[in-house]
Amino acid sequence: FPTVPSETREEDVEMVQKYLENYYNLKSDGEQIEKQRHRSPVVEKLKQMQEFFGLKVTGKPDAETLNVMKQPRCGVPDVAE
């Protein structure tokens, strides 16, 4: 069964950034998600994603959220352009 990492790892940070860009229309401005993850728009996009998938809406890339993000999926965004 999946283990729960205590901290968000560097590769997870990149994965979250890419995921939100691909499927939640997050605009990449070159700034690392690590620096801004407690502020909009990353937090807002994370909340949208968590709400969509029925996860606990924390706005943080917790273990459950990361697990869902790592699942293979369709490449069509979940939010409209």
Binding site: F1, N22, Y23, F52, F53, G54, L55, K56, E64, V68, Q71, P72, R73, C74, G75, V76, D78, A80
Partner: protein, 364 residues
């Protein structure tokens, strides 16, 4: 269900499709069949028809491509994005692209082409991603061994194109809902402190330290297991769980199905008249198997059925009168589930101490 923003739709309900190229992962006939069946799912529940053409421009062009394929949505190598499709419209509209860096299959191995194509064609027809985990239009890949539209998918496509012309209207499957007062469980098992509640092709996963109860597909965790698990128990000493369906059973260590399974339940010493088990639970190295109104007791250490069984459930567990759907053990209690209610049976005082609705276990 969610419609694509702007509600794009095909005005003509008789659509054409063309397979521009074939993946080398599968025989061409398998690709043809997967694509045809995927379209058929949608045509069965709507007025839409799909005709295959072999040359020229079709409404829905299908191709296997990798990496940057010049549509501003590059694929990403193995895993991750599997495929994408465009909303109804001219030129690239409706087209479906499958990532050639994936391995495409016609079985339960990743990734089943029929399953992915069925989802993509939903986009080609104007559907966006659904939040219903049981819907084909849910964005994440699951393969339960069967591909079928959920009622949510049917409602979505019929919201765009209306119902099928067929006088008998097809219905779809629906995911179980935690708060349904008619909910029953197929089987329940503890697993390393968590509790898994099985229902059809799904299970809820309850962790004592987590506030939410997750609904998952059985196939997501154990792709080769069947749906409709009927009984299950945890053998704490061996760190295994055993799952039963019909006269077969599987042993699992976490994610991993142990080699040599499925086996026949006659290995436990059941008579040939027993062809399925309703519920099972292990307690103090004994496993209790419930079948109709009787139960057997199995010695986990001697690995044999104990003499003197079956016995009547009602006489040994007073208050548990009817047939049992599921059972598991917590502290000194057996929690018996029968229909929409459960009974907490105190093993020390040998009596039922609580009766309540089963939805409570799903935080409802």
């Amino acid at each position: 269900f969610v419609l694509t923003e702007g509600n794009p739709r095909w005005e003509n309900t008789h659509l054409t499709y063309r397979i521009e190229n074939y993946t080398p992962d599968l025989p061409r006939a398998d690709v043809d069949q997967a694509i045809e069946k995927a379209f058929q799912l949608w045509s069965n529940v709507s007025p839409l028809t799909f005709t295959k053409v072999s040359e020229g421009q079709a409404d829905i062009m299908i191709s296997f491509v990798r990496g940057d394929h010049r549509d501003n949505s590059p694929f990403d190598g193995p895993g991750g994005n599997l495929a994408h499709a465009f909303q109804p419209g001219p030129r690239i509209g409706g087209d479906a692209h499958f990532d050639e860096d994936e391995t495409w299959t016609s079985n339960f191995r990743n990734y089943n082409l029929y399953r992915v194509a069925a989802h993509e064609f939903g986009h080609s027809l104007g559907l966006s991603h659904s939040t219903d985990i049981g819907a084909l239009m849910y964005p994440n890949y699951f393969f339960t061994g069967d591909v079928q539209l959920s009622q949510d998918d049917i409602n979505g496509i019929q919201a765009i194109y209306g119902p099928s012309n067929d006088p008998i209207q097809p219905t779809g499957s629906t995911a179980p809902t935690a708060c349904d007062p008619r909910l029953t469980f197929d089987a329940i098992v503890t697993l390393r402190g968590e509790t898994l509640f099985f229902k059809n092709e799904y299970f809820w996963r309850r962790h004592p330290q987590l506030p939410t109860v997750e609904l998952n597909f059985i196939s997501l965790f154990w792709p080769s297991l069947p749906n409709g698990i009927q009984a299950a128990y945890e053998d704490f000493d061996r760190d295994l769980i055993f799952l039963f369906k019909g006269n077969q059973y599987w042993a699992l260590n976490g994610y991993d199905i142990q080699q040599g399974y499925p086996k026949d339940i006659s290995n436990y010493g059941f008579p040939s008249s027993v062809q399925a088990i309703d519920a099972a639970v292990s307690y103090r190295s004994k496993t209790y198997f419930f079948v109709n109104d009787q139960f057997w007791r199995y010695d986990n250490q001697r690995r044999s059925m104990e003499a003197g069984y079956p016995q009547s459930i009602a006489s040994t567990f007073p208050g548990i009168g009817s047939r049992i759907d599921a059972v598991f053990q917590q502290d000194d209690f057996f929690l018996f589930f029968s229909g929409p209610v459960y009974y907490a049976f105190d093993l020390n005082t040998q009596r039922v101490t609580r009766v309540a609705r089963i939805n409570k276990w799903l935080n409802c």
